[in-house]
């Protein structure tokens, strides 16, 4: 396979990570809402933890984007 073609394929494959991180972020907010609706009085105090979980899940998706950009423009 041509090296250039392999790079483009790799960048495309990296996009799978974005979809998986979408699952993760959706899961974080979905589970938070599930818990928050069961006990709304406790929800506000847990918002910081919600965003920590969101940040961790989101970072992995962003890393997939970084890998795609590195393959396309740097490697």
């Amino acid at each position: 396979m041509d090296a250039e073609a392999a790079k483009l394929l790799g960048a495309g494959l990296a996009a799978i990570g974005l979809g998986l991180s979408a699952l993760g972020v959706g899961n974080v907010f979905g589970k938070f809402l599930e818990g928050a609706l069961r006990n709304p009085s406790a929800a506000d105090s847990q918002q910081g933890r919600l965003f920590i979980g969101f940040a961790a899940a989101e970072l992995l998706g962003l890393l997939a984007f970084v890998i795609a950009m590195i393959l396309l423009f740097v490697a």
Binding site: G48, F51, I52, F54, A55, L59, L62, F65, V66
Partner: protein, 252 residues
């Protein structure tokens, strides 16, 4: 892409001692951010007993950050509030400045300083350095206890130490990278959609109706989403900084 290009403001490079020290558009937007922030804070620091609208707006932000720092670090976190507040406001205003529609004026375009890893990386390194300095000055070499969680079986200690040390050392990278990539990706997404709109319009009215119009409507939605992302990323940066400070101050 042109919007991410750092270039001298007046078209000439100013070189001194082998370094390019010309006043760039990046520097201009940092000064603008600082100016906007200064104006906003000065207008709200009149310390009236009954706050007006402006003071109420400023107090919302200060109260928000001081609550967050207090909730995460505890009473000892009070002295870190100014730093976390400056960090939050700088990133928030810089992100929002990058979303300004200055591009409608020919020859000008907005520049997002947080879409460069040099800027976000330096902010992350400052946070990490403060964590290290506070941690070592408060606890000395006992700070390394951070890397061995309570109740670890003796046989697991070497492994846990390596894992925790790695996850600690990765923090400044993840902190800087998250902000940088989130802002860059958002602007690229808007650029791609804007390309759809313009190319569709150039291709004729039929294609414009089925390509440009939906893209334009989507673009309005994505712009609103980007404004939300601007705020969330600033919040996440400040939140993670205060969490890391909590590790340094309280050692778990």
């Amino acid at each position: 892409m042109h919007q991410f290009l750092v270039e001298p403001l007046f078209g000439r490079h100013l070189v001194a001692g082998g370094y390019d020290i010309s006043f760039t558009n990046s520097a201009l937007f940092m000064v603008l951010t600082l100016g906007a922030l200064w104006l906003f804070m000065l207008g709200g620091m009149k310390r009236e007993l009954v706050p007006g609208r402006w003071q109420a707006a400023v107090e919302t932000f200060t109260g928000f950050i001081s609550n967050m720092v207090h909730a995460n670090i505890g009473p000892e976190g009070r002295k870190f509030t100014p730093y976390v507040f400056s960090l939050f406001m700088f990133i928030l205003v810089a992100n929002l400045m990058g979303m300004l529609p200055i591009g409608v004026v020919p020859g000008f375009h907005a520049f997002t300083i947080t879409s460069h890893i040099t800027v976000t990386g330096v902010l992350a390194i400052i946070s990490f350095a403060i964590v290290l300095i506070v941690g070592f000055s408060r606890h000395g070499f006992h700070f390394f206890a951070l890397f061995v969680p309570h109740g670890t079986p003796a046989i697991m200690v070497p492994l846990m130490f390596v894992i925790e040390l790695l996850s600690f050392l990765v923090r400044p990278f993840s902190l800087g990278l998250r902000l940088f990539v989130a802002m860059t990706a958002g602007h690229i997404l808007l650029k791609v959609l804007a390309g759809f709109v313009v190319n569709g319009l150039n291709a004729g009215p039929g294609i414009a109706a089925i390509v440009s119009l939906p893209s334009f409507i989507l673009m309005i939605g994505i712009t609103l989403l980007e404004l939300l992302v601007c705020a969330i990323q600033a919040y996440v940066f400040a939140l993670l900084t205060s969490l890391y400070l909590n590790d340094a101050v309280n050692l778990h």
